[in-house]
């Protein structure tokens, strides 16, 4: 089968916050670029982000410092976030947030006209000594919507080119040079397959929360970029680190933002007790997400959960009053009425820890360049490949992400990737993209195998996968039980090559897309399973009943999953500080983590 080819200087796969921020940079650069997105950009998952974007812009507190934000982030990461990257993000953050305002983002405002900031979990002043900070910049509780639409609008203004409802299937890797030379993609509306040849490719495909049964993530969050990278043989870092958000609506999975607790809401158990007082006496309900989620599960296991099965707790908001709820949390009131049948001004919302965010991803440097990691030879840049946003692991989140830090990650590192590509172009360093027919063969063969009308049912295999992940790799984990889970995944793998796609037409064939997405989900799930089983300690979001302590001696390190051997290696954490004065450096050394 021969396919059409189209040429680009730079391709951005993904039209969420990270992709659109990178695109904005490149649209102004004169390069021949396009954004490839499987949905119209404003339908990307970034639109769902509610609470805000965390950044020390000194609006709520004129004395706030990016160094304090950095301290919180390093501590939140349980010390395996890369400090060079965290420093870069916290320091460059204000610039990136102001840019968003300049292009029109309708932030909520303080009486003095500056951007409104609200308290979020894990935030402190003065290196944890000055009490709760309010550092999350918000547009009511629709910050992601405001951010994504504003970025899309700015891209329209800049004349960016979009390939909307195009689905990227696989990376094209040149057998001759080893460089990434674009992607094979399907135009969903016509079903046509095209080789998009490009000198650089930026993966900004977002998360993969759909590996779990219960998730706050959109249906489209199927880890396609991770799947593409893993199939190309590239490593995945810290894949055991999945954030379970404390407040997913019980039964529906839909999120209610941490901003609810930031505005003064709190969690109660069946006795009406504010139980976080026992687990985090200082930060209470605004402790880090991993801490709050575990406390909730312990309450439920101890029989103090709500409902007949003690399977959720309650988020109390009614004491805030209708005015605050309508002004600050209008979207939450809507979601709660629709999905929990509860008006938060009158009754508490039933909530449960729910899969939310993938801290792991494709390892990159602070320019967004994707890295190959060799246990002996160390890191090397993968020519032609960048990654930014949730799919990437530049590692600003380490073992646990702080709320509001993802949106910041998107725009800071989306921008950084764009800047780096621009610079390389100016200095004539963009690689040439040359591939042969043979380099396309793996992707085309894979597509060919999805033309069978009989075989395993996509929806059933997907459900089974999600069940395995939910049961064996949830909030609390245990070796034996995880090994059982891995065995089940090994059995399931066979089904992946034998999926039935009974829709044989070309035009808008979503059955075919769902089958490819399922294959991607599986790769992500498998990497998660292996990484979780091998990391024999508890750190951040990774909590093991059989290894309950953090083990800095052996595991103050990133885990690196190698897809070809299905083994786990380690990569050292970056502790380089470039802009922290020597008298403040001690704050960033690993300490006991309490809230």
């Amino acid at each position: 089968m021969s396919v059409k080819t189209e040429d680009f200087d730079a391709l951005i796969i993904g039209g969420g916050g990270a992709g659109l921020r990178a695109a904005l940079q490149l649209a102004q650069s004169g390069l021949n670029t396009a954004v490839v997105s499987k949905v119209f950009p404003t339908r990307s998952h970034t639109v769902s982000a509610q609470g805000g974007i965390t950044c020390a812009i000194q609006s709520d507190d004129p004395d706030d410092r990016w160094q304090w934000h950095m301290y919180d982030t390093v501590k939140g990461s349980d010390y395996i976030g890369d400090q060079e990257a965290i420093e870069y993000m916290c320091r460059e953050g204000p610039k990136a947030v102001y840019e968003l305002e300049h292009i029109g983002l309708p932030f909520s405002r303080n009486p003095d006209g500056r951007i409104y900031q609200r308290p979020f979990g894990g935030q402190s002043r003065d290196f944890g000594r000055g009490g709760q900070a309010a550092r999350t910049c918000a547009a009511a509780d629709r910050t992601g919507h405001a951010l994504l639409h504003t970025l899309y609008q700015a891209n329209l203004k800049a004349g960016a080119r979009f390939l909307n409802e195009w689905f990227a299937v696989d990376l094209i890797v040149s057998g001759a040079s080893g460089a990434v030379c674009g992607v094979v993609a399907i135009d969903i509306a016509t079903g046509d397959v095209t080789a998009l040849r490009s000198r650089v490719t930026v993966l900004a495909t977002g998360g993969a929360g759909r590996i779990y049964q219960s998730t706050t993530n959109a249906h489209i969050n199927t880890g396609d970029g991770m799947g593409m990278a893993l199939r190309a043989g590239y490593p995945a870092q810290d894949m055991e680190m999945w954030q379970f958000h404390p407040t997913g609506i019980h039964g529906a999975g839909v999120l209610v933002t941490e901003g609810c607790r930031g505005e003064g809401g709190y969690l109660i158990n069946r006795d009406g007790e504010r139980f976080m007082e026992r687990y985090a006496p200082n930060a209470l309900d605004l402790a880090s997400r991993d801490v709050v989620a575990r406390s909730m599960v312990l309450e439920m296991l101890d029989g103090r959960g709500c409902g007949e099965n003690s399977d959720h707790v309650m988020l109390k908001l009614d004491h805030l009053g209708e005015d605050v709820l309508n002004a600050r949390l209008p979207g939450i009131c809507e979601l709660s009425k629709t999905f929990a049948h509860v008006d938060p001004a009158r009754a508490p919302i039933p909530v449960v820890p729910t899969c939310h965010y993938m801290m792991g991803g494709i390892p990159t440097n602070i320019h967004g360049q994707a890295l190959q990691v060799d246990d002996e030879k160390g890191d090397s840049v993968i020519d032609g490949l960048y990654a930014a946003g949730e799919v990437a692991c530049v590692s600003v989140h380490g073992a646990n992400r702080l709320g509001g830090n993802s949106l910041l990650d998107l725009i800071v590192f989306g921008r950084a990737a764009g800047l780096h590509i621009e610079e390389h172009n100016r200095s004539g360093d963009l690689p040439e993209a040359n591939f042969s027919e043979e380099d396309l063969a793996p992707a085309l063969e894979r597509l060919g195998r999805l033309e069978r009308q009989t075989g395993e049912s996509v929806s059933q295999v997907r459900e089974e996968l999600q069940r395995i992940m939910q049961n064996h790799f949830g909030v609390f984990r245990e070796g034996d039980f995880m090994r059982e889970g891995i065995a089940k995944l090994d059995t399931l793998r066979g089904a992946l090559d034998n999926l039935a796609v009974s829709d044989t037409s070309k035009v808008f064939n979503t059955a075919r897309i769902e089958a490819i997405e399922l294959q991607n989900l599986f790769e992500v799930a498998y990497a998660t399973a292996i990484s979780a089983e091998r990391r024999e300690e508890s750190r951040g979001a990774h909590a093991r009943n059989d290894f309950t302590e953090r083990d800095d001696e052996n595991w103050l390190a990133h885990s690196v999953y190698h897809p070809e051997t299905r083994t786990l290696g380690r990569r050292s954490v970056n502790f380089d500080l470039n802009h922290i004065e020597s008298d403040e450096r001690e704050w960033f050394e690993p300490q006991q983590r309490t809230y």
């Binding site: 300049h102 932030f107 009486p111 808008f508």
Partner: protein, 235 residues
């Protein structure tokens, strides 16, 4: 068993669209969302195509016509639309159908692009600082910026059906007003001038279908009225 009748059209095989009937068992007889029911249908019949993403009413992917009413399938419970145990699902009216429940949104998007949906500001922004905006000025954007471009409004508007290329339609006009109303935008007079022809704005006859259809509770008719007033005031 719920009886669901679905608009089917595949340009590769069907000369014309037709309605296909399905019987659907909802597990536990629960009151699920229409989108959940559509997913169950797709398990029965993989060839049924529709769009969806967030499943919580914020991305605007799954605008469909449910028993004659436009809305987002993911936030409309069956109990709200099913009548006499029947549900009929059709694509949003007035736009060309790509396949089944998937419409071609190109016209809708191009009307949106026409109103220049981005902030225009003459003076360069302050370096390393945000532009200031009072909470009162910011409040003027509420009820406007929340639009999710789902097209439920424009595809319920008769004026848009007849002139989808010339009449901008409620969604685009709501966004036009969003930028005129923004204290940070300095292109008000150009924006108004652009709307001051026979079709772009004035084809709206105040029928308010758009308001009834908007799943986000927004009010395009009011925004259109505000643009008119502003045009009159600016003479």
């Amino acid at each position: 068993m719920l009886k669901v009748s679905v608009y089917r059209y595949n340009p590769e095989t069907d000369e014309r669209p037709y309605m296909q009937d399905y019987e659907l068992e909802i597990p536990g007889g629960r009151d699920v969302m229409v989108l959940d029911a559509m997913h169950l249908l797709k398990e029965q019949d993989q060839t049924l195509s529709f769009r969806r993403s967030c499943r919580e009413g914020v991305c605007g992917s799954d605008g469909v016509n449910m028993n004659g009413r436009n809305g987002l399938a993911c936030i409309v419970p069956l109990s709200e639309v099913v009548r006499g145990n029947r549900l009929s699902l059709r694509p949003l009216p007035g736009l060309p159908v790509v396949r089944d429940l998937v419409v071609d949104m190109e016209q809708f998007y191009s009307q949106y692009e026409k109103i220049r949906p981005y902030l225009i500001h003459d003076a360069p922004p302050p370096p390393e600082r945000e532009r200031l905006q009072s909470p009162e000025d910011r409040d003027k954007l509420d009820g406007l910026y929340e639009c999710i471009l789902c097209a439920c409004c424009s595809t319920s508007c008769p004026s848009f059906w007849w002139n989808p290329d010339k009449f901008l339609g409620p969604a685009a006009l709501l966004q036009a007003w969003r930028f005129i109303a923004d204290s940070r935008d300095t292109a008000t007079s150009e924006r108004l001038a652009q709307l001051d022809d026979l079709y772009s704005l004035y084809r709206c006859h105040g029928i308010m279908n758009c308001v009834a259809a908007c799943p986000k509770g927004l009010n395009p008719t009011k925004a259109i009225g505000q643009i008119r007033n502003k045009l009159i005031a600016s003479g």
